[in-house]
């Protein structure tokens, strides 16, 4: 793999940037792999990378029906944070946060990771009590977190309407300084390039349409383009389509797929240098390096696979944004899109073995998977390499919905749902 550096940029400038090495190969699949990962989004690619790097399992294929990072990885609002309430979730997301902090160097790829801080606003007394509780829980778990009052919030975001005249006055916020944003595409590309360099086969435009079974164990996948591909272990990281793939193997997952949408405005000059989220009025906003305001919305209430959202949700979200930022009332929106998120009843992911031998699932990240990308890949790689769940992943078994040990993050953390 060609190493990227400032010097390399200068060197290639001399040949008009025409001789850059391809970022990854485009191989034909082999007949057999040690591990097949179904789904070439951020989480799948991260899993492949850590399998090869940490566990030295390099005979790995990532099978993607579209193109790499073309699903939810390309559709989220790029927020990274780890201020979750419950220990199990906090450990998992903080594990990801620690990996984020050295990831660009590790992958030799500019992820534009910017720790610009995230505010989770409180608009009611109950919001503020929940924020206090969560901030204290975070600090006990070693996660940086501060509870701010109105003046503290106004100081960080001078353009926000923090007056008591607002319909839902801002009473304070939780503030995680280490949180921030990262360039979503670059995360997928960085992991893909690094995994490819370690020998992982990235197979794009290859759709899995069946899981091959033998005596209750999964032994491979059938693909539309290349027929059967066998493997010792299979990991499915297919987000919104998890239920569809599980059905191929003959079991059900406790996930429901919903459209979640986001939108960006026309590019404007730098005006917002942090991330602002509000559960109460339900909207979140940051500004990309390109200058567009990146705005996130809630999920649509109904199930759907259509990768587009409903108009009432957009309207609701923009009402919330304009309520908080009257200054943005005449900014025009440029693009709007939807991704299909697989939500679980307790709003926590599923990183788990399944009723089928040698078949593992990493899914159910719902509305907040992007922030966990490296951590999710790291723990799922260990699960796939050893055949059993890593200590961080253990509480997120799919069987918790039968034994009752849920990790009830829903509404408890500053999760925007």
């Amino acid at each position: 793999m060609q190493k990227y550096s400032g010097f390399g940029l200068l060197k290639h400038a001399l040949s008009h940037h025409e001789n850059w090495q391809r970022v990854w190969r485009n191989p034909k699949p082999k007949k057999h792999y040690d591990v097949i990962i179904v789904g070439g989004g951020g989480h799948g690619l991260a899993t492949a990378y850590y399998l090869a790097k940490v566990h030295k399992v390099t005979n790995v294929a990532v099978i993607e029906k579209g193109y790499l990072g073309g699903g939810n990885t390309a559709r989220n609002t790029t927020i990274v944070r780890s201020n979750y309430l419950w220990d199990e979730a906090a450990f998992l997301y903080e594990h990801a946060m620690k990996l984020w902090e050295g990831l660009a160097q590790d992958l030799n790829y500019n992820l534009m990771f910017s720790q610009r801080g995230v505010l989770n606003l409180g608009h009611t007394l109950q919001d503020m009590r929940d924020i206090e509780r969560r901030v204290n829980a975070n600090r006990l778990n070693g996660i940086d977190s501060v509870a701010l009052d109105t003046a503290g919030v106004q100081k960080i975001v001078p353009i926000m309407d923090c007056t008591s005249r607002a319909r839902y006055p801002i009473l304070g916020a939780s503030w995680q300084p280490r949180a921030g944003v990262a360039r979503h595409d670059a995360v997928a590309w960085g992991f893909a390039r690094a995994a490819d360099a370690l020998g992982v086969d990235l197979i794009q435009q290859c759709e899995v349409d069946d899981i091959l079974m033998q005596n209750g164990n999964a032994v491979g996948v059938n693909t539309k383009q290349y027929g059967e591909i066998h493997a010792d272990r299979i990991g499915c990281v297919v987000a919104g389509n998890s239920g569809v793939v599980a059905k191929m193997a003959g079991f059900e997952l406790p996930v429901e797929s919903h459209p979640l949408q986001a939108l960006v405005s026309e590019p404007i000059r730098p005006i917002l240098d942090t991330v602002v989220m509000s559960n109460q009025v339900h909207g979140y906003i940051s500004q990309s390096d390109k200058g567009d305001l990146v705005i996130g919305a809630g999920i649509d209430g109904y199930n759907g696979y259509g990768q587009r959202g409903s108009y009432p949700t957009i309207e609701h979200t923009l009402q919330a944004i304009v309520e908080m930022f009257p200054i943005f009332s005449r900014v025009r929106m440029n693009r709007q899109w939807g991704g299909i998120v697989d939500t679980t009843p307790d709003a926590c992911p599923i990183i788990s073995d399944t009723p089928i031998g040698n078949l593992f699932f990493n899914c159910g990240w719902g509305t907040g998977g992007f922030k966990a990308t490296p951590g999710s890949g790291h723990v799922f790689a260990e699960t796939l390499a050893k055949g059993e769940a890593n200590a961080l992943a253990k509480p997120f078994s799919m069987f918790r919905f039968h034994n009752g040990a849920l990790v009830d993050e829903h509404g408890a953390a500053g999760v925007a749902h």
Partner: protein
């Protein structure tokens, strides 16, 4: 934007008057005390999530406030029929 026919009002109304309430036709176990953990878990948490024809419970929240069912394609978002509680769908994934 959905344009939904409420089978009680017998009128088409806009999506904003309604709320989706999840999968339809979920029957509470007849003998709850005899259920295994697995049966309870399935009843509480496991929902059909088809890519295609789906039967859903909706409520006409800003209208007659009655619950009713919709058969809808989750991929094309086409509404195939709406019907009252207690009735069976005439469009299913088999037909």
């Amino acid at each position: 934007m959905f344009y939904i026919h409420c089978p009680y009002c017998d009128e088409h109304r806009e999506e904003e008057e309604f709320h989706a309430k999840g999968q339809a036709h979920i029957a509470r176990p007849l003998d709850p005390d005899a259920c295994t953990d697995e049966e309870w878990g399935n009843f509480l948490y496991f929902r059909a999530n088809p890519r295609g024809i789906h039967h859903e419970l909706w409520v006409h929240a800003a209208g007659c406030r009655k619950f009713f069912n919709i058969t809808r394609d989750t991929q094309t978002y086409a509404i195939l029929e709406t019907y009252r509680l207690g009735e069976q769908p005439s469009v299913t994934s088999q037909s």
